[in-house]
Point group: C2
């Protein structure tokens, strides 16, 4: 260990300033088409980072929250975690003959994704609670990571972690380069998200807020461990999102990014705060490259948030018009 103090404070200051210099917006948001959507993002970031400007926000208050399913990666043909849970049901079914006659397991074994998705978060969470319990968080993350490394999305015929949105990856990087702390606030399970979010999005485990099942501290042969139980602890959706953000972060975000009515309260609460605020909705209107859905979709239904967008000044992204590409052309291996 080198124990010495800075010897060239001025040099250090200059260099640190250069290192922290934000990326060129054009370079950073390369997959965003020119137009009012990209301009709104760039303008907002310029306002809150201009030292001495009227809307300057200190770095520690530059909190940005992102929904995951449908905002950072695809939720088609169904939530990825639901598809993972279905595979877990199949893997565990031989030990559970009663599942053949019991919902939601029966639908899961039949591969009836539509029926499951239509029920919203509750049956999904019940499947998750049952099929994701047993071991500790690290065991579960290993299971999820293993599945993600091999399973294939049936619609896009690609690994799930390659179906992230390239423009949103650039947006995450751009915000972080401008001193923002980026959080994921998802209805998905927190340990499922932790299995891939750091590699996929550069978001570390402590910046992930999600749904959870009950976890208990136990001593196994005198050795302390955590055990996941088949019981829902918290569903991080709708009005749960602002509550969870406050519990976890303790600051109201200044920017929120979502794509469905599950993000409505998070958008409302974020943008109702004093000072500069930013709300953005990813609108899936791109049937050719990904999917077109909103008001009538059982997955990622978007109706109320879309209706409220104009009155709050939320930016609505048209995937079709605003994005040059949807998925990364050279995904991570």
């Amino acid at each position: 260990m080198t124990l010495q103090r800075p010897v060239f404070p001025l040099l250090a200051f200059i260099a640190a300033t250069l290192m922290a210099a934000p990326l060129q917006a054009r370079e950073a948001l390369a997959s965003w088409n020119d137009g009012p959507t990209r301009q709104a993002i760039v303008d907002f970031v310029a306002r809150v980072t201009t030292t001495g400007g009227p809307d300057y926000v200190k770095p520690e208050e530059r909190i940005a929250v992102f929904d995951n399913d449908g905002t950072l990666w695809t939720e088609q043909p169904a939530y990825t975690q639901l598809l993972f849970a279905l595979d877990r049901v199949k893997a565990l079914a031989p030990q559970h003959p009663e599942w053949r006659r019991k919902q939601p397991f029966k639908a899961a074994l039949a591969g009836d994704v539509k029926a499951l998705a239509a029920g919203g978060a509750k049956p999904l969470m019940e499947l998750i609670a049952t099929t994701h319990a047993g071991g500790g968080p690290e065991d579960f993350q290993a299971l999820a990571a293993e599945w993600l490394a091999h399973a294939e999305n049936p619609k896009f015929r690609a690994r799930y972690d390659r179906l992230v949105y390239q423009p949103m990856l650039e947006l995450l990087d751009y915000l972080r380069a401008n001193g923002f702390k980026t959080y994921i606030v998802s209805g998905g399970g927190v340990e499922f998200l932790r299995a891939f979010a750091e590699r996929a999005y550069g978001v570390p485990p402590e910046q992930i807020i999600g749904s959870s099942i009950v976890t208990k501290f136990v001593l196994v042969d005198g050795k302390p461990a955590l055990r996941r139980e088949a019981k829902i602890a918290f569903i991080d959706d709708k009005e749960g999102k602002p509550v969870a953000i406050n519990a976890h972060i303790g600051r109201r975000p200044i920017a929120a990014f979502g794509n469905s009515d599950g993000d409505l309260e998070m958008l409302q609460w974020t943008t109702a705060g004093a000072g500069p605020r930013f709300g953005l909705i990813v609108h899936h209107d791109d049937a050719a490259r990904e999917a077109a859905y909103d008001r009538a979709s059982p997955v990622g239904r978007l109706a109320r948030a879309l209706d409220e967008a104009p009155q709050h000044g939320w930016v609505v992204v048209s995937m079709k018009k605003d994005w040059k590409v949807v998925f990364p052309e050279t995904p991570k291996p």
Copy 2:
């Protein structure tokens, strides 16, 4: 906003390295007497920060968790938050005549701190739930900050936020200077802690884990807000601590600091992980400068954790022998 990329990468690298250089241990831990306790701290930090060494730990995994009451500030003559709650009971009593005949309010109005403290976290949390509910988290933090700015600890005749332990402040700084992320993991209420922890300890709101009451998202005249309800949500004590740490941070800490049996499971779980681990117990054996208590104390009882310390290699701090001073000589204004 300056939009440019680093032009002198080598210069920047050198300067950033110098800036990140850890403080001299001697300087940083100035209030710790020479001896095995301080040496154990310095040795552990050297092990985990020596690049290329066998026990090197990457900065993002250098998580240190600190209990608050009795570990970072005094818990004598009673938990500070309990004394705050008593003052809240008195302030709110005129609107609640029924409290004169109902426990724990009756004891609170009689100022019977001993009776309340002896019950452990539950009656304290009931008082807190009732007297701390009503507004939003920001309203509550303002109330707590206002009280902390004026109230006086009856034993030490000083403001509560001046009764922090100087050697522990230095330890927090020393760990952070060595790339650690410092978290508070307290049985106290998370919003109460947030009212002072950043100023007192340099710990930001998102690194505070604590007990909580139920908080709900509401629309008031169409305006989104959070409302605190008179109902306990989570008690962050004993086996709750490892559970909350996992939920919040998603990594097992490599160092844990506590002072009572409420910290036992956090110490067990932290130090049972693979690789280098550090556990420390502040033992209150200094009747002259602060207080001497352990096994028989209703506040901060320390028995099982003290018994288990040798088998786990936890360092037991003698306030009397290891600390040059207890409280800051020049407290923050």
